[in-house]
Symmetry: C2
């Protein structure tokens, strides 16, 4: 069974961005040659689900090559349909149905790359199987919260906590399903 | 210099209680003989600051002996004055002034024992020197958030991450002041 995975960084007080999509607090932990396990994580997935706003932001900041590299199916969740472009598909249906469809196909795991809306839609429907949360040693006080209100109670199984020289701590959990 | 310290447990999504002050999710990590460093932490402090609602809750649930044990000065922060009782003092002035006064006195460190209102009033005024946050492996989705909005940005120094068999992870930070 394919798993749906989060891999995301937050401030200690639970924000993934400061107001106006300001991600500059991530610079606190940027270190040459340290990708905090991102490459290894990426080797476990072949499909990305991402919100449209986050997609547009990344394309603007990094370039479309970040997604359109021929290696992964990318589902951009949007309310406004756009034509697909190679393995980048714009998807305006139900996220629950998308995950069900992907789970019926063979493949590696599925990476939800944000933003908060898509993450929380997955969490609300208890569709997240693994969470890797990197805690940046800062309180930022305002912005976009990783966890919105209204997620149903979900007991997790702790897998590991990794600490890094920069002060980042990476917590890894699996959804406990009985 | 005395330090103001938090020592508090939260769900992974950042709640210290579910609605109606429901703390039952803490039972997930309750284990006989495991106090998650609470006794050791207590030996570093001799003064407690606590919100009135949390104080009343603990007195009702555990009994006044939890606070009135002759070993610590307890400041109960309240809007409604009450007569002091031994080393338990009801305080309705400014929290900033209280911390300044305590910092001018000799003693061990100062423990803020909650609730969220008092914790956030300290954080808003950048008066918290150490944070020990125990993360319980659960998402609860609703309730009282540990970190409210509006805390000014505060860079922290990571001290340690301790993991426990129950799946609890305890993160320890120091406020970085330049």
């Amino acid at each position: 069974m394919r798993k749906v995975k989060l891999f995301i960084a937050t401030s200690l007080d639970g924000y993934i961005a400061q107001p106006n999509d300001d991600l500059s607090f991530l610079k606190l932990v940027e270190k040459e040659g340290e990708d905090y396990g991102y490459t290894a994580f990426n080797s476990t997935i072949d499909t990305v689900i991402i919100g449209r706003k986050t997609y547009d932001y990344v394309v603007k900041e990094i370039g479309i090559s970040h997604y359109d590299n021929g290696e992964r199916d990318v589902y951009v969740v949007t309310r406004t349909e756009r034509p697909d472009s190679g393995r980048i598909k714009f998807y305006s249906g139900s996220l629950v149905e998308l995950v069900a469809k992907l789970n019926n196909e063979k493949g590696k795991d599925i990476y939800c790359d944000g933003g908060a809306e898509v993450v929380n839609e997955l969490l609300k429907n208890d569709l997240t199987d693994e969470l890797t949360i990197s805690i940046v040693p800062i309180l930022v006080g305002n912005g976009t919260r990783l966890f919105k209100e209204g997620i149903p109670e979900q007991i997790l199984e702790f897998i590991s906590a990794k600490t890094f020289e920069s002060g980042l701590t990476q917590l890894h959990y699996r959804r406990k399903r009985d």
